[in-house]
């Protein structure tokens, strides 16, 4: 058996550098470049990280679901590691969205939480992703991957239906946040940089977790190989 080429951390370290620089730049822009909102005041600055995290969460979870489907159709350790890392990264951003969201909501809507469609959907996604991640830990060896992949691929169409349902349900509530509304160039540029910063941060976490999973898989395969060799050697040698 030829050993697989080593997983070099070059790409990961480059991503980490880019993400660090961009997050510093975004923090600077949020603090000094973007003007405070005329109506909402300084609390509106949560927007830059909040919305970017929400987009990153949706991207991570939907690609996690899609990759799970791919792994179910054509099983591959690489795709499994990618899918798993995507869902876990999405989970982190879901927590970020649900932490920054209420802080903003308290100031602009006067309540920590409302059953606004987007909030409800995010909460449901957080619960689903947590459950799928938890099942892997609880399933006996080898089966957790398939179970988690099946549930994760089912979660995407169901999430769409949850979205439709909570939209219709939320239709009875008057408070619906309207997106957009940032006009000044300072705010627009800040949002763009924050978006890039969060995306590169998401990519960094994703890569980190993916590498860790791949190394785990390799270690496991090596262990299997060694125990198989040991069995073979004791069988051949034990007969003499």
């Amino acid at each position: 058996m030829t050993p697989p080429p080593p997983l070099r951390p070059t790409g990961f370290l480059a991503l980490l550098g880019v993400a660090t620089a961009l997050i510093c730049a975004a923090l600077y822009c949020v603090a000094f470049v973007a003007e405070p909102d005329a109506v909402l005041g300084i609390v509106q600055k949560i927007f830059y990280f909040h919305v970017a995290s929400a987009i990153a969460m949706m991207l991570c979870l939907s690609s996690g679901s899609l990759l799970s489907l791919v792994d179910l159709v054509a099983p591959s350790e690489r795709v499994d590691a990618l899918a798993r890392a995507a869902i876990e990264t999405g989970l982190i951003f879901a927590v970020m969205v649900l932490t920054s969201g209420p802080l903003w909501a308290r100031k602009s809507w006067g309540a920590w939480w409302t059953w606004e469609p987007r909030l409800t959907l995010t909460l449901m996604l957080l619960l689903l992703a947590t459950a799928v991640t938890g099942i892997r830990a609880m399933a006996p060896d080898g089966t957790g991957r398939k179970i988690a992949a099946a549930l994760a691929s089912l979660a995407a169409p169901v999430a769409y239906l949850i979205h439709v349902a909570v939209q219709k349900w939320g239709g009875t509530h008057p408070m619906v946040l309207k997106g957009g509304g940032i006009q000044s160039p300072g705010m627009q540029w800040t949002f763009r940089i924050a978006l890039l910063a969060i995306f590169s941060f998401a990519a960094t976490l994703w890569t980190l977790r993916y590498r860790q999973r791949r190394l785990e898989q390799r270690l496991l395969n090596l262990q299997l190989e060694i125990s198989a060799q040991t069995v073979r050697r004791s069988r051949d040698g034990g007969l003499t």
Binding site: M124, T143, K146
Partner: protein
Amino acid sequence: MLLRLTWLLLQKDLRVAARSREVFGFMLLFALLCVVVFAFGFLREGEAAAAQVPGVLWVTLLFAGTVGLLRLFAAEEEGGTLHLAQRTLAGPHPLLLSKSLMQLIFSGVTTLLLLPVVLVFFDAALVQPAPVLAALALGLVGQAVLGALVAALLVHVRLREVLLPLVLYPLLAPLLIAGVRVTVLAQGNAPAETVDSWLGLMAGYDLVVLATAPWLHARVVEP
């Protein structure tokens, strides 16, 4: 072949259920208990009890259904016959189908017995019974098929009693939201289009589940 094997498996499950009288009785008792507990929790003096009916009804059915789902594969698991039932001549489909039907029978009978009880306890009347019955049928089908799928996936998983609701309830959220809305609307004189659009959502949900569940089940249990 598929239908014949499904019928055989279902017959076996019904016979086991009739002889042991285990799950169904507890499911019914648990549903009744839920209604009582919700009455303690939600009824206020001076407020109409009837307003609580939609929530109480649907959440009770969700909880009682879970009791059935947690025992759905108990016979196969305890008898060690699960891997045999998964490998019929028609593949693993008869197993999922028969278990879904089994759950549907249990939850359907529970619902038929529970609905009058809830209406009496909460002093309510159904102004429009047809949409509520349609919503209950669609909701129970979705819960049975998706529930049987999740139960089948989690058979060997540790802490599955905890994990099953954790996975199932968020997945069932559209049915729960829509079912409660239809029941609320049917208590008054809501326009038919609004009710129909909610029922359409439930039907769409059931279609998605019916189309994907057998495939996912087969992908996971087949070696």
